[in-house]
C-alpha cells in the first residue's frame, strides 16, 4: 500500500457525507438493499429446515424451525456494511441472539471455542472469531423490516453480525461449528479477510 494516496485529478466529493462517524472508510451510503450471492438462491422448506450447533468433540444441539421460533426474540436496529462498498443505516431485524443458542449448548455440556464456522444451504461457509458472535453482537435473523426475510436476502434465516463486513452475515445459515483453530470459509479461501472489520478496512487477506 502506498502511504501517500494518489490524488485523482479533478475529483471532488459529489455530496457531503451526512454521517461521517457512521460510514467506515471507502464506504458509501445506499438506501437500497443490494443483493450479492455467488450462486443460485436455495429454497429449503421450513418443514425440512433446522439449525445445528456442533462443538469440536462432536456433540451437537439441533433446533427445528418451530423450536427456534420459541426462543426469545431480539429486534436489533443496526448499520450494515458490505465489502462491495455500500453501507445501509438503521436496518431493522428480528432474530435469536447467538448468545441464547450458545447458552443452550453450554447447558448441554458443549464447550466454547476460539472460532466458529457458519455453514449454510448452498454450501457457503464463513469463519469468525468466537468473540465476534458472542456478547450481544450476533443473531440468527429471520425477520427484516417487519416481514419474513426474503430468500434472496438469506431467508428463511441468515447470520447477522453487523459490526463486520456483511459477507460474514452468512445467508441461508443452517448452523455453527465451534472450532479451536481458525479455518477459512468460502470467500476467505478466495482472498477475503479472516475477520473483516469495516472500520479497519479489512477487506482482503493481507489488509491490516
Amino acid at each position: 500500500m502506498s502511504d501517500t494516496p494518489f490524488i485523482a485529478r479533478g475529483f471532488h466529493a459529489k455530496r457531503a457525507n451526512a454521517a461521517p462517524n457512521r460510514l467506515p472508510p471507502g464506504q458509501y451510503e445506499t438506501r437500497d438493499f443490494p443483493v450479492l450471492s455467488a450462486g443460485p438462491t436455495p429454497h429449503t422448506p421450513l418443514s425440512k429446515w433446522d439449525f445445528t450447533i456442533l462443538d469440536s468433540s462432536g456433540t451437537s444441539l439441533r433446533w427445528t424451525w418451530d423450536e427456534l421460533q420459541a426462543l426469545p426474540h431480539d429486534t436489533p436496529t443496526v448499520d450494515i456494511h458490505c465489502v462491495t462498498k455500500w453501507s445501509k443505516f438503521d436496518t431493522r431485524w428480528e432474530g435469536i441472539s447467538v448468545d441464547t443458542l450458545f447458552d443452550a449448548a453450554r447447558a448441554k455440556g458443549m464447550a466454547d471455542g476460539a472460532f466458529i464456522v457458519a455453514f449454510c444451504d448452498g454450501g457457503y461457509t464463513t469463519n469468525l472469531p468466537f468473540s465476534d458472535v458472542t456478547g450481544g453482537k450476533a443473531w440468527v435473523a429471520f425477520g427484516y423490516d417487519g416481514a419474513p426475510l426474503p430468500p434472496e436476502h438469506g431467508g428463511p434465516a441468515r447470520l447477522l453480525v453487523p459490526h463486520l463486513y456483511f459477507w460474514k452475515s452468512a445467508k441461508w445459515v443452517r448452523g455453527l461449528r465451534i472450532l479451536q483453530r481458525d479455518a477459512p470459509g468460502f470467500w476467505e479461501q478466495l482472498g477475503y479477510h479472516d475477520r473483516g472489520d469495516p472500520w479497519r478496512e479489512q477487506r482482503y487477506q493481507g489488509d491490516p
Binding site: 455530496r15 438462491t41 466454547d112
Partner: protein
Amino acid sequence: MSSGIRATPEVTLERAAAPTRLEWRVATVVSVRAETRHARTLVLDVPQWPGHRAGQHVDVRLVAEDGYQAQRSYSIASAPESPTLELTIERLEDGEVSPYLCDVLQPGDGVELRGPIGGYFVWEVTLAGPLLLVAGGSGIVPLMSMLRHRALAADASRARSPVRLLYSARTADDLIYASELARLGSAPDVRIEYTLTRSAPADWTGYNRRIDRPLLEEVAWPASEGTRAFVCGPTPLVEQVANLLVEFGYDPLRVRTERFGPTGS
C-alpha cells in the same frame, strides 16, 4: 470465553506465509473508447500487474485533494492474455465514481486500483465443457473477458468448450461490444442471442422481451454434468435465470452469479 484469544501458532503455520496484501497501484490511462451512450472502456497500463483470471474484478479508489475518498468495484473486460487491463464503466447518472471515470478521466491520467479480486466467478478455457453465459446490461463485462480469453485459446481447447451467450439489454443502442460480439459470434461453437427489453428496431431479428422460461429453454444448453453457467446482471434477472437453470437440472455449484442492484424491478 476470553476475548483475547486469537489465531494460534498452528494456524500461522498452516498459512505458510503472511498473505500478500493487494496493493494499490497507480494505473495510467492509455486510451479510452466509447462503447455506448452510457458506457466507456478505459485501457490501462498497470505497473507490476500480477495478472488476472477471466471474471475477476478490481477496486478503484478516487482520492480528492481534501482527503475525501470513494471506492467502487469494476469487472475486468480484457482477456488475461491482454497486455493492457481494460475496464468498461457504465455511467450511472447519480453516481459518484462512474461519472468521473466516464467524463473526466483522460489518456495520460493516473487512476488508483488494486486487484485482481474474486476467485469464484472465474472461467478458464482449460475447464472443458459447454459454457453458458447470460448477461443483463453491463453484466456483459466479466463475460466478455471470458469470451476474449476463449477466442485466444488453441482450436482444440475451443472445440471442447462450445459457448452460448444470451445478452439482455434495454435497446439495441445499449448493447456493449456489439461489433466485436458480431465477429466472435461468427466463429464455430459460438452462438450469441440477444434480447431487447424496452424497444427494438424494425428489422430486429432477436428476442424482444425479458428473459422467461421458454426463452431460456431455447437458448441454454440442456442440463448435463459438464455444463457451466455464469450469470451477471441486475438482481431480478440473475435471480430469474439462476432459479430456472437449477429447475432445468443444472448443478447449483456450476451456476455462478454476480448481481448488482437491489431486489425488485
